[in-house]
Amino acid sequence: MALILELQDAGFTRGDRMVFRGVSFGVEPGQILCVLGPNGIGKTTLLRCIAGLERLNKGMMRLDGHLLEQMTRRKVGQFVGLVPQSDAPGFSYTVQQMVEMGRAAHLGWLSAPGRPDHALAAAALERLGIAHLADRAYPELSGGERQLVLIARALTQQPQLLVLDEPTAHLDFAHQAEVLDLVQDLSRQGLGVVLTTHDPGHAFRVADTVLLMSRDLSVSSGNPALVLTEASLSAAYGRSIRLFMAEGQTVCMT
């Protein structure tokens, strides 16, 4: 099948510091790629490159077969939905208003969201199970609730590639599981998904492919069971890590 996201020998330097290099992978429609690695290794930077917020210094990247440099901001916005880590809130928008902003790339210059857009936003809220928050002020929500709102906003964007930066970071145990289920649901509907996580267990659970970034700038990618071994994880995180099987799931312990 055609790749909707393709990176070849991608590298990124900030100042004179090499953040990552030699990153190559592809994502097909319906596939989930999970990015793992210790803090500060450049996972978020990689996602920002994929969403077109940063530019690779080396290598090339294609979205749906098009080189990223040749796409307009609007086209990228129609194709990739980014769920950032929820940040400090600014103006006091309601949840409904926040989610409708996902329509920006689909709306003309002088237009505002209309009835179909309201409906899309409402459906996304429903899907995330937060329809009851629609009229609440976004800055007053908890970190986890904000995370769910941002996911709903990305769904309202109707992208073909969903990019999530630690979508489970602020969530309680039950919501983590729900978000992972949602991600799997979406991929079954044909969405490509790239997400970062700190829990290798999540990768075992949902990922078709994993990308493991290590401190020595080496990168390995492939099938989770092949890439995520006790040896490779211990080397990547610089600490002895053990894997166990429990009830058919792989669990990770330090």
């Binding site: 901001r73 609007r74 990228v76 600014g90 103006f91 928008y93 920006a104 964007q157």
Partner: protein, 328 residues
């Protein structure tokens, strides 16, 4: 709420015709205005028409356009810079215009030259800010800092012109201009404001939903498919044209562009779809009302800039106390 936002400026508009030394009644005002539109046949002395149409109407229209323009422009600035403390004057437009006006008063003191010079130097100051901030990618904070630098530079130039000005004849004129006033607003000023404020304001209002995206910050806006830098340049450009136009006609009328958007946000919320029209309506009504005070409080004319500061600062302090100031 919507009704209030229409009624307040409309009432301020009508009642302002009654303020002044020559007494007129509301009914007369409405009939005189009707006669101008050809609906009513005049049955009153010519002096009534002169007072209502020639003297008071331009001043009231100028007040509404200046107030509405400043508040609209201020709301846009606050959203674009994601900062509750910026106003239309943040990028040095007032300092630049002040210098431009002072220079013109010094060299060619014709009214249109003063207005034109103030407008040109106001825009020049903002242009310089963008030039300075280019190194930092025209990021909001870099722009605000550039505004401080450019503002300080033009304020120094202004002090120089004041130092050189003849203290008997020219200096009072410069001082009076800097304090802000609508006393000299005539038909030509109203025309200039109409030509500037209406199209720029209409364009800003037309794209007001997009301003919400800029207020989320550049990264989020870009991730949602919006070219944030270009949109910001456009919005700041339009808002600056409005600010420069109002400053060149009315002098430096501070605090309106800062306080009125906050008041509007309290009333209708943060969504620019409602915030921008509300700010414009409130600003228009507010400035006309303050100008009525300026005309009637003392026998002479009070500078309107002094009044807006006297009223605006305590309101701002109140908002600060109640912590309603920031974004929520």
């Amino acid at each position: 709420m919507r009704l209030l936002l229409v009624l307040a400026p409309a009432t301020a508009f009508l009642l302002s015709f009654l303020v002044g030394r020559y007494p007129v009644e509301v009914g007369t005002v409405m009939r005189v205005l009707g006669a101008e539109l050809g609906i009513v046949t005049p049955d009153w002395p010519e002096v009534v028409r002169t007072v209502v149409v020639e003297v008071r109407l331009p001043r009231i229209l100028a007040g509404m356009l200046v107030g509405g323009g400043l508040a609209l422009s201020g709301a846009c600035y606050q959203g674009v810079f994601r900062n509750p403390l910026v106003s239309p004057f943040t990028l040095g437009v007032s300092a630049g215009a002040g210098f431009g006006a002072a220079l013109a008063i010094l060299l060619f003191p014709a009214p249109m030259v003063v207005v034109g010079s103030a407008f040109t130097f106001g825009l020049l100051a903002v242009g310089l800010c963008f030039l300075l901030a280019r190194g930092g990618g025209a990021a909001p904070l870099v722009l605000v800092l550039a505004g401080i630098v450019v503002g300080a530079f033009f304020t120094a130039l202004l002090s120089l012109t004041k130092f050189l000005a003849d203290p008997e004849a020219k200096l009072p004129l410069i001082e009076f201009w800097l304090l802000g006033s609508l006393a000299n607003a005539g038909r030509r000023d109203v025309l200039m404001l109409l030509v500037l404020v209406l199209p720029c304001g209409a364009l800003l209002l037309a794209m007001r939903w997009r301003l919400n995206l800029l207020a989320l910050g550049d990264d989020e806006a870009r991730a949602l498919g919006v070219d944030a830098a270009r949109l910001r340049l456009l919005v700041v450009g339009l808002a600056t044209l409005i600010a420069a136009g109002t400053v060149s006609v009315a002098g430096i009328v501070g605090w309106v562009g800062l306080v009125v958007p906050h008041a509007a946000r309290l009333l209708v919320g943060a969504d620019f779809r409602r915030l921008l029209p509300a700010s414009a309506a409130l600003g228009a009504g507010y400035l006309v009302a303050v100008d009525d005070l300026a005309r009637s409080l003392t026998a002479g004319e009070m500078p309107i800039g002094v009044l807006t500061a006297l009223i605006g600062a305590p309101i701002f302090a109140l908002l600060l106390q109640r912590r309603t100031l920031a974004w929520r």
